[in-house]
């Protein structure tokens, strides 16, 4: 298992290098311009100056190598310094600077993480927590009314676009009923019961929109996995041992069914860090998704490059985690 993991990690390095290059080339090819959002009153020679000051005058490979150095050496060192309080070198390293905000990209990401994890992560967690029992029940009572209901629920969650559900929720709960805020306050610090309640209130709508979508998908996987396992021989063995239906279902079948589902869940974790572009925009959560889309819209190359690359790292990493998890959960599989 360990050697397998090591081997995969070794393999991940060239993979990620290739991915980083492709992303960089893609963004470089893309026609967006960092000065496009400036007011039109700014004359072209000034725009050209700005572009040069952003380093766009340099040839492609220099910019790529520079980014690599900044991302793989400077930023990790910087984080290390921050966390440990050490001083490494003169501490005067060139960081990955966002063109749009002129501040270090990594700081922006760190700033955005909390709300993304809170909203998107919690939605994912809730989605999973809804999906698993839903999948279990609808598989156990296949074709019963509860299965049909669960199917309908998950289909609706899957098929109605989030910008539609989000807006509908706002019109109902914010405009008509005035119960919930439409704006997510990232400044809110939870210090007491009241602020906690405020935090809950502002999270309800975005979290439920996203959780519905996540629950919809995962519950289908859960149902299929349960159906697969319910017809296995060992279920009969467990019943023949006189185990109660509860323990047959929740110990024997569930444990086996969770194997594929857990890997699906692990594979989905990177999407949390990708943020939820549309939902974040509707509820002004301003998480990583909003950061990415604003970066794209303003052609903020260092930001987009860094974000997408971190996303790629997470994808590769969670692919690995999913495989390793598979090996851990399923004793039959031993990677060597």
């Amino acid at each position: 298992m360990l050697t397998y993991t090591l081997r995969r990690l070794l393999f991940a390095i060239p993979t990620l290098l290739v991915i980083s290059f492709i992303i960089f080339a893609l963004l470089d090819l893309s026609p967006g311009d960092p000065t496009a959002n400036l007011p039109m009153t700014i004359p072209p020679e000034v725009r050209e100056k700005i572009r040069e000051s952003l380093g766009l005058g340099q040839p492609f490979h220099i910019r790529y190598l520079l980014w690599m150095q900044q991302f793989f050496i400077n930023e990790p060192l910087n984080l290390l310094e921050k966390w440990t309080g050490w001083t490494i070198g003169d501490g005067n390293r060139l960081r990955v600077i966002s063109w749009q905000t002129r501040s270090p990209v990594v700081d922006l990401i760190v700033q955005r993480l909390p709300q993304t994890l809170w909203v998107v992560g919690l939605a994912y967690l809730i989605g999973v927590l809804i999906a698993i029992p839903l999948g279990v029940i609808s598989a156990y009572r296949q074709y019963s009314w509860i299965d049909q209901f669960a199917t309908l629920f998950s289909m609706i969650g899957f098929s109605v676009p989030t910008f539609f559900t989000g807006l509908a929720l706002i019109v109902i709960f914010s405009v008509k009923l005035q119960w919930l805020p439409t704006i997510y306050d990232t400044n809110l610090r939870v210090t007491d019961a009241h602020t906690f309640w405020l935090q809950i209130k502002q999270m309800i709508m975005p979290v439920s929109v996203l959780a519905l979508y996540n629950a919809a998908q995962i519950s289908r996987y859960m149902r299929a996995a349960m159906l697969d396992n319910l017809s296995q021989d060992y279920v009969r063995t467990a019943r023949a041992k006189g185990m109660s239906e509860r323990s047959v279902l929740l110990v024997h079948v569930l444990r086996n069914s969770l194997i594929p589902v857990v890997t699906v869940i692990a594979l989905g974790v990177p999407t949390i860090f990708g943020g939820a572009i549309i939902t974040e925009q509707i509820f002004r959560v301003n998480g990583l998704g909003q950061l990415l889309i604003s970066g794209i819209q303003s052609a903020d190359m260092p930001l987009v490059q860094t974000l997408t690359f971190i996303f790629a790292v997470l994808i590769v990493f969670f692919n690995l985690i999913a495989d390793v998890l598979y090996g851990i959960l399923d004793p039959r599989i031993r990677y060597d």
Partner: protein
């Protein structure tokens, strides 16, 4: 074998005159959700195809005086804020959305199946192809779209005209960024099927690899592919609408359900018909396709079929 009586057909549990597909069809027919899905989907397709004959209003015609009209005989679903007929737009939009869904699904299916089969069948291709899959999972959709539009728009416009050109681009982008799941699933199944004895049997007969893939492997990974297909249509329709939401996608006078919904979203309280109908159209289509997919999955699964 002189005393061999004519072998009797093994009676399954059922009458002998049924093939694999009639079995699948039987099971499918008894999946209530799937049948409802088929009926609804057929109705939607019919309406969208035959729509222009039923309702021959030009979807781009602007009747400035009738702006923001509520549903009436002249405009069964009302009009938008510059006076275009919503019903005509929903019909026109449906043609595009369904076509996008269908074509993008085909592309993603083709790529996904190809990658999945190659990775699953040829061990040496497995690693590299799965890493390519990782790469595609990590690609940022929007910059990719911008790049591709920039690179190929004029060529395609010259070759196919502006609307078909952009249609092909969008369909291509959606297809090319959504095949990864299919590839993973197909690869997993191929890994299992290539160890099955009938593949060994084909090898022992001397069947070359490409025909083993075509004749033995592909037909047996059909069920995950079919399910991917139904999900793929739904996914493509949703993705197109999300692209519209982000202001990319089709030109403004080229209605799609996603664009109609997006454009109408702000009018939710003023002229609700503007969002209800396209929203309903998307949801019903995706819903019905999903139910069809669900029914197919159950029907194609031999274990479930037996029940």
């Amino acid at each position: 074998m002189t005393d061999a009586a004519a072998p009797t057909v093994a009676s399954g549990i059922d009458t002998p005159e049924h093939s694999l597909w009639s079995d699948v069809w039987y099971q499918f027919r008894h999946h209530r959700g799937a049948m409802a899905g088929v009926v609804i989907f057929a109705l939607i397709v019919l309406l969208v195809i035959a729509g222009p004959w039923i309702w021959n209003t030009d979807p781009t015609y602007i009747d400035v005086k009738a702006r923001n009209a509520w549903p009436s005989f002249a405009h069964p679903m009302g009009t938008d804020n510059i006076g275009r007929d919503i019903f005509a737009q929903v019909i026109q939009g449906g043609r595009v959305s369904l076509l996008v869904g269908f074509t993008a699904m085909l592309i993603s299916l083709l790529v996904g199946t190809l990658v999945g089969v190659l990775a699953g069948y040829y061990r040496r291709l497995d690693g590299i192809l799965m890493r390519v899959t990782d790469l595609f999972l990590a690609l940022p959709l929007l910059p990719l779209l911008l790049v591709v539009i920039m690179l190929f728009r004029d060529t395609l416009r010259a070759a196919f005209g502006p609307e078909t050109g952009i249609f092909l681009l969008i369909v291509f982008i959606i297809g090319i960024t959504s095949w990864m799941n299919t590839a993973r699933i197909v690869r997993g199944d191929v890994l299992g099927i290539k160890e099955r004895e009938f593949v060994v049997a084909a090898k022992s007969v001397g069947t070359p690899s490409r025909r083993i893939i075509l004749r033995h492997i592909l037909p047996n990974v059909l069920s995950p592919i079919m399910v991917s297909a139904t999900l793929g249509i739904a996914n493509a329709i949703i993705t197109e609408s999300a692209l519209s939401f982000l202001g990319l996608g089709f030109p403004s006078d080229f209605p799609t359900w996603g664009r109609l919904l997006f454009d109408g979203a702000n009018f939710m309280t003023l002229t609700p018909a503007r969002v209800i109908w396209p929203g309903l159209a998307i949801s019903m289509t995706v819903l019905s396709i999903n139910f069809i997919g669900d029914g197919l999955r159950d029907a194609l699964d031999p274990r479930i079929r037996g029940r």
